[in-house]
Symmetry: C2
């Protein structure tokens, strides 16, 4: 008897995953990480009010969550001053990226991104058979002009652009992003990933304009709001594009407790401001650690610092391995030339002290403190 | 400037949703339901240990959940006595059905189900362009022979079959289901939805055989375990089919708190047994209420009772509307001849008393207590 008949596309897909989780590494090494600084989670945690709201909601878990995510969307609508029907909530930005790609991209359709940008976006594009065209970063910045030029060349239906960027942490000002928006070729959608938007300095995020049918902005409760484990992201865009998500999304996909947590987190803007301030301080501390050891921190508007280790991928990989072995979970960019770096999330003092000690030891054992 | 260029498939999809949530109805009517008996949630709630585990885990929500769902899969592996690599955890059965359909079904591929069976499965089939072929129920039972016959006729890649069934609550014994499994045409996969499996009597569920490449069984923490809002389902099947989910799933899609809750729920089998007993008693009570009012309860192996209102869809719809207006959230099957019924979930005594009172009133105002 013959087995399942996969679609040709499904049969062609690799079984690789975009990210291996820290728990997998912990199981492999047989002990927990002492510092969890690899997934750009917020070590400062969610608002205590969000924790309390989730603890309260736990007993109500026998009920499905509201498939409309009404209360959260209503609060976001007020907070962002955009209509509710311009907001869709989903299972993290990862889930929303999957839905967006599914709506727009079929086999052979052209998509443009930056070489080394978010791998989970690429995973979704491959998953629906899209043709990904990647342009190099310029310095350590995503290059809007190159993205537009490539989009015109390949008649892209979709461009991915993160501001601030991951994995480098760099950012563009709003005027530059607006030029990217204004320069979009006919029929091309810009997916503007603002997962780290709350950390960005004033003037980095363009004004939201949901009248533009071709821009969709992705935001999340996973980063500054400290709720990575909750899986609550949202997309903001033209109501027509936003309503199209209703054709394909898992309507009951967002956890009920998470909806309550995200709502409470949104309502505690004082906590958010405090986290952003603590994150900025941790970023400065990380930059100082790097500089003090002769490494080059790349300017960041996120909750991580990407550190140029100075001598290409082998050295960065050696440092990463050494840190991981010593109990510091960190990651590094996947492709050249960004993979001359290691990427370290903002953490609390204890974690940064450990990172400093282990990075010092790693460099020392590599035979040189300076590059 | 022209807008987004949707795929032809996405452009063709309707914006209808499989289910309108009770919260949407509550917002429309301006008040909360007094009895929530429409979504087959467990009014008896999750294990207190699961609630405690979730409350504890809430503070850890700043961390992503383990994308491998390792601890939960490991516990399920022990509980079910199947290898871990034969289990995949996802965002409820709804999410897993979407992944399964995506792996197997492309535009024009044939799928077989029963006329009036789970609409969310149909939603996913339509969403990936599959051709759905539905066979009638036989009496109020899904008809394995008719499913097989249709699958052969249309060269189906996938059959959907729920045991116990929703929306009718009926069930087949294991031998009958095994005949369905054994009769599968070459290259045809059976999706055996056992969402209500924990409520089924001894002897209704066939032995799990993960060596069979063509059977995948769907189970959930949403029903008997009382965690509908957590969004944790799992599929059990041949490791090759199960591993294929890794090509398309949202790897970080399962909420971290929910993973902890599901694990604790699984570990409290005494609570599960108590819920199953309380549910059976509530089912008997619901049947008695129906019978006492001259209506015909359909035998059920689930956590709901589907009640034949005796005079076709108009009468059932009138009763449903009356109940909903009176604050009892219930639902009814979508298609004929099942839509001569209303479907009422097992509830606590207070809810059943309210249901009895309002059902009595509804029948009385419809001019007849008997059919």
């Amino acid at each position: 008897m013959s087995g399942p008949r996969y679609t040709p596309l499904a049969a062609s897909l690799p079984s690789t995953v975009p990210f291996v989780g820290p728990e997998t590494q912990e199981r492999a090494r047989g002990s927990a990480f002492a510092a969890r600084l690899g997934a750009n989670e917020s070590a400062f945690g969610p608002s205590p009010k969000a924790i309390a709201a989730m603890a309260d909601a736990a007993a109500e878990s026998w009920k499905y969550g509201d498939p409309e995510n009404y209360d959260l969307r209503s609060a976001l609508s007020t907070h962002l001053d955009v209509p509710m029907d311009a907001i869709v909530v989903g299972e993290g930005i990862d889930g929303l990226l999957g839905y967006l790609v599914r709506l727009l991209i079929g086999v052979g359709d052209a998509v443009v991104t930056s070489m080394g940008a978010y791998p989970t976006f690429n995973y979704h594009v491959a998953g629906f058979g899209g043709e990904l065209h990647a342009v190099p970063y310029k310095g350590d910045y995503e290059d809007p002009d190159a993205l537009l030029e490539m989009a015109r060349q390949v008649d892209a239906k979709l461009i991915y652009f993160a501001n601030p960027d991951n994995p480098m942490g760099t950012w563009h000002d709003a005027a530059t992003v607006q030029r990217l928006i204004d320069g979009l070729p006919d029929g091309c959608v810009l997916c503007l990933d603002e997962a780290y938007g709350e950390f960005a300095p004033e003037g980095a995020l363009p004004v939201i304009d949901v009248a533009n049918p071709n821009v969709i902005r992705m935001r999340t409760f996973s980063k500054a709001y400290g709720l990575a484990g909750a899986r609550v992201g949202y997309a903001i865009g033209h109501p027509e594009l936003v309503s199209a998500f209703g054709k394909v999304r898992n309507h009951f996909g967002v956890n009920r407790v998470a909806q309550a947590g995200a709502l409470a987190a949104l309502q505690d803007q004082a906590w958010l401001a405090d986290v952003v301030a603590q994150t900025a301080a941790a970023r400065d501390a990380l930059a100082a650690i790097a500089t003090g050891l002769g490494l080059q921190p790349i300017p960041s508007a996120t909750n991580f610092v990407t550190i140029d280790c100075g001598k290409g991928v082998e050295r960065a990989k050696a440092i990463l391995d050494s840190l991981v072995q010593a109990g510091c979970f960190v990651r590094m960019p996947f492709v050249s030339p960004q993979n001359r770096c290691v990427r370290v999330s903002a953490g609390k003092e204890r974690e940064l002290n450990l990172l400093k000690a282990e990075l010092t030891a790693a460099l020392s054992s590599l035979g040189s403190k300076a590059r």
